[in-house]
Structure formats: C-alpha cells, structure tokens
C-alpha cells in the first residue's frame, strides 16, 4: 500500500465515521466523533504508547508462536491421516470454546503475566494459519504427485519439495487473517487478566465512562491491526510471487 493510499483510506474512514456521528446524532458517550477521540488520543498519548507497546509485544510473540504452531500442525495434518481424523475436530472444537471459559485454566497454568495473553493470541491465530496452510498443502495438482511418485519420492520429500512450496500463497492468506486477529486475541487475553495493555486500558476507560479514551485506545489497536495486515500482505505477495 502506498502512502497516498493510506492517506486516502484514512480520510475516507474519518469521513464515514464523522458522517455516522453527524447523521445519526448518536451520543458522544456511545460513539464519540473523530475530533474528540483525537483529542483524547493526543492527551493520553503517553499512556496509550505504554499500553500499546505491551499489546504489541504480545501480538508479535503471538504471531510468531501461533504462526509457528499453525505451520507445524498443518504439516502434521498433511502427513498423517490419523492426525487428520483425531486432531482436526479438536482444532475446530478449540475455536468454539469461548475465551472466558478457558481463561481461568490458562491463567492457572500461565499466570497473569505475558504468558496467558500470548497464549490467547496464539489460540486465535493458530486456527486460520493452520486451516489456510493445510488447505494449500492438500490442493496440489495431482500431476505433480504422480511425477513425484515415479521419482521415488518419500512422503517427507513430497511434503517439503512440492506441497509446501505449492501452499505458500495459501500460507500467506492465512497470515493475513492472523495479522488481523492477533491484536484482538491479545486484547481478549488482556480482558481475562492483566493490568497492562490496550485491552486493559479500554476496560478501564469503559469502567470510568471515558468513552473517548476507550475509542482512542481502540484507534491505536486498529492502526496496529492495519499495519500488521499491510506487513502480512507484503509477505503474502512475496510468497505468492515465489510460488508462480
């Protein structure tokens, strides 16, 4: 994305936002206008930066670990039909578990530090990465597999030399989704137990009826998501270019 595009998109977003506020006349304690949020953002920039940094750390760690685990799981699923039968329902199941149910378990094991938040981000990122990569791994043109078989390939080498490169664009798609979900994962983790991070700041602002600060924190989170997405999109484009 070019800078000019970023500017255009931002302007558009602000216009829509202001438009909603003006047209629906929604009260500022439900949806404050851009100007108000910007003021809150600027006045609390130090606070937001501090908490933002905490969340960013969680997000980055979550992306690395969740992405890594997702890649490994997808590879395992691709190799082993037994894993497909046993693991896939569990994967799906795990996504259906509302966080707050897992929260006490996670915090019991991981404490209230960084660990449980990263775990939460990981849990959320894990599935899209696994799912997208696995789909890519299984969608190899059959001709390639025929060729590999006549060449005396083992399942392992087919995986590394054919399935994986063929699935890289899909992995890119998965990471794009993950980049978007990672911040929300970290925030949910923070809701579950923390005294730091943008999620905590939002809860606190909400509890103190400071809607503008809450939206300012949300703005920071949104910007973080968009930046991560742009980054992931770059990576995905590179992966796609590599594979074709």
């Amino acid at each position: 994305m070019k800078l000019s595009h970023g500017l255009a998109a931002t302007t558009f977003l602000l216009m829509i936002w202001q438009g909603i506020v003006s047209l629906t006349g929604v009260a500022s304690f439900i949806l404050p206008g851009p100007a108000r949020v910007w003021t809150a953002f600027w006045e609390n920039r130090g606070l937001i930066a501090d908490h933002g940094l905490v969340t960013l750390t969680e997000v980055v760690l979550g992306l690395l670990i969740g992405g890594g685990l997702g890649v490994i799981t997808a590879l395992t699923l691709a190799i082993s039909p037994a894993a497909r039968v046993l693991l896939r329902p569990m994967l799906v199941f795990s996504q259906a578990l509302p966080v707050f149910a897992l929260a006490p378990i996670l915090t019991l094991w991981l404490g209230y530090g960084l660990g449980s938040k990263v775990a939460m981000a990981v849990l959320i990122i894990y599935f899209p990465v696994t799912s997208a990569f696995f789909d890519g791994l299984m969608r190899v043109p059959p001709g390639y597999l025929d060729l590999a078989r006549t060449m005396g390939a083992t399942q392992r080498t087919i995986l590394w030399r054919i399935q994986v490169p063929n699935a890289l664009p899909s992995l890119g798609s998965g990471f794009k989704l993950a980049a978007v979900y990672a911040p929300i994962g970290a925030v949910i983790g923070e809701w579950v137990g923390s005294s730091q991070g943008l999620g905590y700041l939002m809860l606190l602002a909400n509890g103190r009826a400071k809607t503008d600060l809450m939206f300012a924190a949300m703005l920071a989170l949104g910007v973080m998501s968009v930046l991560l997405y742009v980054l992931a999109d770059r990576v995905a484009q590179r992966l796609t270019a590599r594979a074709s």
Binding site: L147, T150, M151, G152, T154
Partner: protein, 242 residues
C-alpha cells in the same frame, strides 16, 4: 547403468464402462526404443500411466511385467505430456527435483551438463513461467534424463520443438539412454522411423506392429529406408481406422 529389462503389457482397458482399447499385448524390447503411435485420444498416455504404475481413469484388466521378474516400481522415469515443471523452482532446481525428492544430493555437475546439452544454460536460473514452450519441454526432458533409470517413458517429449532442436534432442536422448528400455509416444512418423527399434500403432481394436529398418538408431533422417518407413507409417496413420 543396468540394462533396461524387456517389459510386457498384456490386457485390456475399460473407462467408465466402455472399452478404451481391446485386449492387447505390447512387448517393449529390453534396452531398446519402442515407439507408440496412434490417433489422439486412443489411449497412448493411458498405457504410459499404467506402466508407470500411476492411477488412471481406466480399469486395466491384465498384467504388466518386467522380463527380469522384478518389480518395475522405482525403475522408471516418466515424462508426462504436460511438462509438470514446478512453477516455483528454477530450471536447475527442476532438473534436480528427482534427487531432492529421493532425499539425495543432486549431482550439480551433471545437472549443469544436461542443462547445457538441452541448450538452456542461459535460462538455468529462470522459473518455468519465464520460458518459451519449447524451453519448458527441454527442461522437462533434462529432468527426465537426469533420472538415470533403466526404464524411460516419454510422452511426446519433442512435440514443442523446432525441427533442428528436435533432432538434436533426439540424438541426445538416444545417446544418454543407451541401454535403457524406452517407450516413446509420438505423433511424428519421422520421429518413430528415426528412433524406433520397434514401432506400434495403437487403435481401439488393438495393436499393430510396423517393422523398422535394421539400421541403428538414431537413423539418418535422409536415409532412404527411414524415409520409406516414414512414408509408410504416414499412410497407415492417415488411413487409420477410417
């Protein structure tokens, strides 16, 4: 290199209930070139897939056996009709794919040499997407020659090449595949006449053999015997089953 065994294909194939080809009995001469011709859609590629032990859309009722009694799997190199180059890999990487898939270290010098001999040295770093049709085919050929197997199945390996490159590639293949049992599917009677130790024409009703001249392959293109055979083949094919 070990000598390629003779191979016997005996049986009939049905596709979706209808017979694709009737009972046939095809013997590939050990360590020699067998050419298979026939109308488009008659089942040539299917036979290749059957010999290669690959899944196909037909049910084959019969047996495919090597004269030495051993299993064929692991002894075959197969070049499909579509080039099946990996789009993410360079020409060099594609040529080395077999070794990589077997978990071996590819013989880089040999790969370089083969790429050179198929005339792709200047393109060795390119992805298949940046190659011309003929260049892609030559890359696939180099990959097949790299395989070093006693039995070689070639499905129209020279179809996208100009006359000159084609004859060069034919000569290269004959040279490098000496001692191998080669089955070549081709549409070009001249090619069959030039390369075949045995020549078969596949028709839905079965197989018929055309005897080539005794001269060693690759035969000279302008050798009168070769030309005569080419003419005869062409006539046979033109008349066909019609």
């Amino acid at each position: 290199m070990t000598r390629g065994p003779a191979i016997r294909v005996e049986g009939s194939a049905r596709s979706e209930g209808a017979p694709l080809f009737a009972q046939l009995s095809l013997t590939l001469e050990g360590a020699g070139w067998t050419c298979l011709l026939g109308a488009s859609g008659v089942g040539k590629s299917t036979i290749l897939r059957l010999i290669a032990g690959l899944e196909s859309h037909v049910t084959f009722d019969g047996a495919i056996t090597a004269a030495d009694g051993a299993d064929l799997s692991g002894r075959i190199a197969y070049m499909a009709q579509s080039d099946l180059l990996m789009p993410w890999a360079s020409v060099t990487e594609n040529v080395c794919l077999g070794a990589r898939l077997r978990g071996q270290t590819p013989d880089a010098a040999r790969a370089r040499d083969l790429i050179d001999r198929v005339g792709l040295t200047a393109h060795a770093h390119k992805r298949p997407g940046a190659l011309s049709g003929g260049q892609r085919q030559r890359a696939a050929l180099a990959r097949t020659l790299m395989e070093d197997r006693p039995v070689i199945l070639l499905d129209e390996p020279f179809s996208a090449l100009d006359a000159r490159t084609r004859s060069e590639m034919q000569e290269l293949a004959v040279e490098l595949l000496r001692g191998c049992t080669v089955l070549l599917v081709t549409h070009d009677p001249a090619e069959a006449a030039r390369l075949g130790h045995a020549i078969f024409i596949l028709e839905p009703s079965g197989l018929s053999e055309v005897t080539p001249p005794p001269a060693p392959v690759p035969r000279a293109i302008d050798d009168p015997d070769t030309l005569a055979l080419q003419g005869a083949l062409l006539r046979r094919l033109r008349e066909g089953a019609a």
